[in-house]
Every structure is written in C-alpha cells, then in structure tokens.
C-alpha cells in the first residue's frame, strides 16, 4: 500500500511534467494541441540525435535540445497556431491532429522504426535504487524525474508570479483584449507561452525516453495521460497540473494494487471521468443554486417533490439570469 503510494507519487511527477505544456497552452492561448504527445517524442528524438550523432552527454543534450524546441514552439505559434485559431474552434484540433501524423511519419522517415531509449546512455541511473526498508525501495530515476518536475514547475510558477513576462501572461490568460488595451502584445505573449510549453514538453519527452523506450508512434498514448492530468488538476494552473499528475499516478498505482492489475489505466480513466463530471455538474449546480438544489431537481421527477412545471420555470429563470 505504502509502496504503491510512493510509486504512484513518483510516476505522478512525470505525468505533471508531461501535462504542464498542454495546460499552459490551453490556459493562456486557449489552444488545444493534439500533437502534444508527438512533440514530446520529437524532443526525445532530438536528444537522442545529440547523444548518438553529435556525441554529447545525455544531460547536456537535453539542455541543448531545449532552446531548439523553444524556437520550434515560437515558430509553430507564429506561423501555424495563431492562424488556425483565427478560424474557429474546430480547425486547431484538425491541424494539430494532422501535425501529429506528420511528426510521427517524419520521425519514422528520419530515424527509422527501431525502438530507442536514452536509458542506456545514462548508465545505471536508469535502474538503480535507494533501499529504504527491506520491502521498500525507490528508483533513482523516478526520484530524479519527480525532483525535476517540482523544480521546473515551481520555477515557472515563480516566474508567472513575479516577473514582467509572468504578469503579461496572466493578464493575457484572463482577458487578452483588456491586456492589449494595457499595452501588452497578446500575440507575442502567446508565442512566448508556446516556446515555454514546448520546452516543458521536450523535457517530459526526454524523461520518458529515459524511463521507457520510444518509437516514432508513441505520442498519442502520452497525450491521453497528459490530458487526464490537466483535467484532473484544473486547466491552466501549474500547481493544479502537478496535483493532477500526482492524483493520476497514485490512482493508477492504487487501482492496480487494491483492485486488480488490470485496473491500472482504468482507475486513472475513472478518476478522470469522475473529476470531469463533478466539474461539469458543478457548473450546472452553480447555475441552479448549488448542489443541493440540483440534486433535488434531478430527483424531482422521480419522487414527485417538485412538479415538472416548476423545473421548467426554474430552468427558464436561470437562462434569463445568465443570458
């Protein structure tokens, strides 16, 4: 039990890292990037290229890959994302879906179908562990991953709270037009956010390549975990994303231990769905005057506490109130 909690917590650090870029992009630029997982894999391949072909040490290659990915994020936002976003809600989904396919097949074309991993370049760190008690041990790599996630996310949160760019990002996130009126170039802010998001994503991809092995087609699976962590933790909040990742990791790990090993992913999905429905009904409940009122109204037709007419009247009233 304690062991699964710890393993789940450490896994959650990776999920949070993976989800942070997605959360940031959605929170500030209101942009859903379906190529997120593939961009993480691209980041990992970039690091592999640096290690393999250019002979850098793995951590140096990770550091060097970050500015490259930041530039890529900046360019993507300037030339692709902004334009598609202007055309409505559906187009960004389609375009990033297509971008994902292009990335997958592009990576396949350049790097081939062999599965790759960074683990063999970081030596024994990939599987070494600290023995805490006889039963309990924690892997050095999961702990490192968790520490990196906490450091990066805290650093980013500090940046958002205390720097000029951070203020601009927060202002743009809450109201781009009002921010523009105050002299903030919201497009420039979006580009910076895309660059930061891509750095986070690439870092997550590199960490994935250290703990697992990757092929060019592994992106979509990562996207699902990232999405779940974002939704559980609340969109656009970095602390929320961290909590979301940890909740996802722990619920998967506990589900596998307490229920059955088949429930690993299912528990994660169920927690995600539960959070989603609480959020969804939460909005409705808010409109209808709180949870208690909502339950009463939903139970109404069955028990006859409230007549059909009064529900309709109430709904109409709410609609008038809101709009």
């Amino acid at each position: 039990m304690l062991d699964s909690l710890i393993q789940g917590l450490l896994l959650g650090g990776y999920y949070a890292m993976l989800a942070a870029g997605l959360s940031l992009m959605f929170g500030v630029a209101k942009f859903i990037n379906l190529a997120h997982g593939d961009l993480a894999i691209l980041g990992a391949y970039l690091v592999l290229f640096g290690v393999d072909q250019l002979g850098f040490s793995p951590w140096l290659a990770v550091l060097l890959s970050l500015p490259v990915m930041a530039l890529l994020g900046w360019l993507l936002q300037k030339f692709l994302f902004t334009r598609t976003q202007a055309a409505g809600f559906l187009l960004p989904l389609l375009v990033t879906f297509g971008l994902g396919a292009v990335l997958q097949n592009g990576l396949f074309g350049v790097f081939g179908s062999d599965t790759r991993s960074l683990a063999n370049y970081i030596g024994d760190l990939s599987w070494d562990s600290w023995q805490i008690t006889d039963e309990l041990s924690v892997g050095k790599l999961p702990v490192t991953t968790f520490a990196i996630a906490i450091l990066v996310l805290s650093g980013l949160q500090l940046m958002l709270s205390f720097t000029r760019l951070g203020r601009a990002i927060r202002a743009t996130a809450s109201d781009p037009e009002a921010a523009e009126l105050n002299g903030i170039n919201s497009h420039a802010v979006h580009r910076s956010v895309a660059a930061i998001a891509m750095v986070l994503t690439a870092l997550a991809g590199s960490l994935l390549a250290m703990r697992a092995q990757i092929t060019p087609y592994d992106g979509p699976m990562q996207l699902i975990f990232a999405f779940e962590a974002v939704v559980i933790g609340g969109i656009g909040s970095l602390w929320g994303t961290l909590v979301g990742g940890i909740v996802l990791g722990i619920s998967q790990s506990l589900g596998a231990t307490l229920i059955s090993s088949q429930w690993f992913q299912l528990t994660g999905h169920l927690v995600f769905l539960a959070v989603l429905s609480v959020r969804f009904y939460g909005t409705i409940a808010h409109q209808r005057g709180g949870w208690w009122m909502l339950i009463k109204q939903l139970a109404g037709p069955m028990t006859g506490w409230l007549s059909q007419g009064s529900i309709k009247a109430k709904a109409t009233k709410t609609r008038i109130k809101n709009g």
Partner: protein, 441 residues
C-alpha cells in the same frame, strides 16, 4: 525493363502527379519484372506475387530486412523461373499495411482486384496476417503466410477445434503454443532454479492464449506458476506484480508483453531488487530485435528468449540462393544493422512460395497452386515446412530454439545470441552454454 521507363522519359507534371498518387493512394510498389524481355510480352507468362507486410508504423521494424531480401530474390530470378519447361517472369508487388489491420485488408484487396495477383504472401503478427488471409479466402486467391502463432491464424479466424478446416485458400507456417512449452521445459532445465515461475501476461489476444494453453502444460511439467494476473498494455507502474514475484521467490520469470512495456517493467524490477533474484528471464514477443536489447543497456545482458530463425541455422534458402549465415551477413552489410529473426523468416516465406509455384506445375492456375501449397514439404530458411503433417489442416509448424542475449566479446555488435536450447528444433546445433541472468552480464 519496365522499371526503366521513368528514367528514360523526362518526367512531365502529369506523370509526376500520377506517380505520386499511386504511392500515396495505393501504397503498392512494384519491384519490376524479373525475366527477360521476351517472356513478359505475354501476360500468361508473368507470375504476380503480392507481398503484404508492415513497412511503416509501429510494426515497421518487422520489414527491415525486406529491401535486402527482395533485391536478392530479384537477382536470383533475373531470368525468371522455369516450371515444367516453361519460362515465367516473376513480378513481386509489395503492399505496405502501415501497421494497421484495416489497411492490410484494403491493400490485399487492391492487389487481388487491381493487380490480379496469382499468389499472396504476408507475414509479421496476426494483425497483418489475418486480415490479408481473410481477403484472399474470400476472393479465392492462394495465400501463404508466416510469423504469427498458428493458433491465432487458425482459431483466430473462426476455425473450431475438432471440426474440418473452413479454409480452402489460405496456408500458414509458424511456431505455436506447444512449441513454447517444449522449448521452455528444455531451456529452463539448463540452469538450476527452484522451478517457481513468475509470469507477466497482458490482457490481449496473445497474453490470454498463453495463459490458457501454455501455463497448464508448464504446471504439468513440474513448474509452479505464479500468474500476476492480466494487465492493460501501456501500464507504467508494475510495483504490484514485482512485489508478488519477489514474495513468491520466482527464480524464473517469463513474459509475453507488448514490447514497449518490457523495459519499463524490467527497470522497475531492477529498482525493486527483483531482477537481482531472477536466474532465468525468458522473454517472448519483446526482445526479438537487437535495438530493443541495446536500449536496455547493462540490464539487457543475459536475458533469455526464443528464436524462430537464427543466423546459425543449418538450412538453405532457395529463393535467395543463400545459406542462413550468408543471409545474416548480407543483411548486415546492406542495412548496417545487426541481423534479426524476421529477415530469415521472410526469406523462408519466399522459399516456400517458390517451391509451391514449382510444385503446382501450372502456377497461373489458382486451384493447382493452392493444392500444391496444401501438400508442400520443403526446406526453407527456418527449417522444414511440412503442410502434410501439420497440427491442423492449413497450418504447418516450425521449431523454436532457445537463445540468450549475451554481451559480445568480439563485436562488431553489442550483443551475441548463442543458441542454448534445441529441444524444439533438433536439426539445429547448440552454439553456447546457457548461464543464469545477472545484471551487467
């Protein structure tokens, strides 16, 4: 030759678009005709072979050797194939499944209806083989396939045990679950253990087939099985399973995972001290390709596996005109990568195909060709393929050898793969002594 056409003419825009649309839409590539100019003047003298394999996508690694193999076969049949005194040109049309079952079925139908193939070949995983075979069965085109456990080919497509075979046109040769039992019982006797086996089987078609069919025969052979229960592919934390194996002191570990899951499991097993206890770590499905082992680093040395082809097999491949060591060396110099099992398995598919074409006497007659395949008994790169004594009609079994991935002493590749068990494939000589698994080799 027809494939010179593009070079001789300057490519007009219209030609280019036509060509590009063929590639994008059809994903079928003709490798040109083999045979002299005069033969293929008459279409009755051209044997068209469809070859449907994953060449891109997650299964693309299975197709790594195809370029080399097809070049070799092209060379071998440059003058065509002489059958009963008649000279035939051979045209191989390669279709890419893009690792998708739906696409596999579509490509097979295109080859049948659009290119009028006389024989279909397909290989690599049930996801590829089954849809292609189904398309051929429906259209009445002879089809020969390999590299998918024969149970998933036969029962997976709706045949019932004890009933006559529902298939007329489709034939398959590969190992089956019984081969694993025979292999493991022998291979696991090579190292002293407590005979307690921890098994990690996912909740997928292969995992459940192994759980139902292999585990009982291992228990009968005196092994204690500790099954950690089914899990979903893509699981990223295996602490529950590892703790169970540790508690039960399983010195033998066996798994049939979705390949990318294995390194995640094994690294965690090392983190939690289980890999340090294991004496035999037997992989199936994962660990087929050297790249997978290389990405494990030091944890990869000493892992045990089964192999359906090996460079030290003593068999001759007629379609490529090469012995097994020559195929491996040829692939290594052509691709710049270490040989893998699938190169030989795909060579064997062509060996069996060529032999069937010859045995049919009239290769353009589909009934005669299907008949010839059903009675085929011939040597291929993976060993003797014998459809007259298969476990069920339409299927022939080939053997598995036990191998161990050990750190190479001489190079040039990181791993050597000695054959350490041959109970399931007695024609093959052992080339090494099995050692217990130890981190770092």
């Amino acid at each position: 030759m027809s494939d010179n056409k593009l070079i001789n003419q300057s490519i007009s825009r219209r030609h280019f678009i036509k060509g590009a649309s063929t590639i994008a839409g059809g994903s079928i590539v003709s490798l040109g005709l083999m045979g002299t100019q005069s033969i293929f003047a008459n279409p009755d003298n051209i044997i068209r072979i469809g070859y449907v394999v994953p060449r891109s996508g997650p299964l693309g690694v299975f197709g790594q050797g195809d370029e080399f193999l097809l070049a070799q076969i092209n060379k071998q049949f440059a003058n065509g194939l002489n059958i009963e005194g008649k000279q035939y040109a051979v045209e191989i049309l390669v279709g890419d499944t893009q690792s998708s079952s739906i696409r596999a079925s579509q490509v097979a139908k295109d080859l049948i209806n659009g290119n009028n193939v006389d024989l279909m070949l397909t290989s690599s995983t049930p996801e590829t083989v089954n849809p292609v075979a189904d398309a051929c069965e429906a259209a009445g085109v002879p089809c020969l396939s390999t590299t998918a456990p024969w149970e998933s080919f036969y029962f997976g497509r709706g045949a019932k045990p004890g009933e006559p075979s529902p298939f007329k046109w489709t034939y398959h040769f590969c190992f089956g679950v019984a081969d694993f039992a025979k292999l493991y019982i022998d291979q696991w006797s090579k190292v002293e253990t407590n005979k307690r086996v921890g098994v990690l089987l996912p909740n997928d078609a292969d995992g459940n087939a192994i759980r139902g069919l292999l585990l009982p025969s291992l228990e009968k052979a005196g092994f204690t099985i500790v099954d950690a229960g089914p899990y979903e592919n893509g699981t990223s934390d295996f602490s529950q399973q590892i703790n169970l194996f540790k508690k039960e002191q399983c010195e033998i570990f066996n798994t049939f995972p979705f390949p990318p899951d294995f390194p995640v499991f094994w690294r965690q097993a090392a983190q939690k001290g289980y890999a340090q206890q294991v004496k035999i770590a037997q992989l199936a499905k994962a660990g087929l390709f050297p790249a997978e082992l290389e990405s494990l680093g030091r944890l990869g040395y000493g892992l045990h596996a089964g192999a359906y082809w090996h460079k030290d097999f003593p068999f001759f491949s007629k379609s490529t005109g090469m012995s097994c060591p020559e195929i491996a060396a040829g692939f290594e110099s052509a691709a710049g990568k270490q040989w893998n099992q699938q190169v030989g398995a795909n060579a064997a598919l062509f060996d069996a195909a060529v032999e069937s074409l010859i045995a049919s006497r009239t290769p353009k007659d589909k009934v005669a060709l299907a008949m010839a395949i059903s009675q085929l008994k011939t040597e291929t790169a993976v060993g003797i393929v014998d459809f007259t004594s298969g476990p069920v009609p339409n299927c022939a079994t080939t053997g598995l050898v036990g191998v161990q991935w050990v750190k190479s002493k001489s190079g040039p590749w990181e791993f050597d793969l000695p054959i350490v068990s041959n109970a399931d494939h007695p024609f093959v000589q052992l080339t090494g002594q099995m050692t217990p698994y130890k981190i770092g080799g």
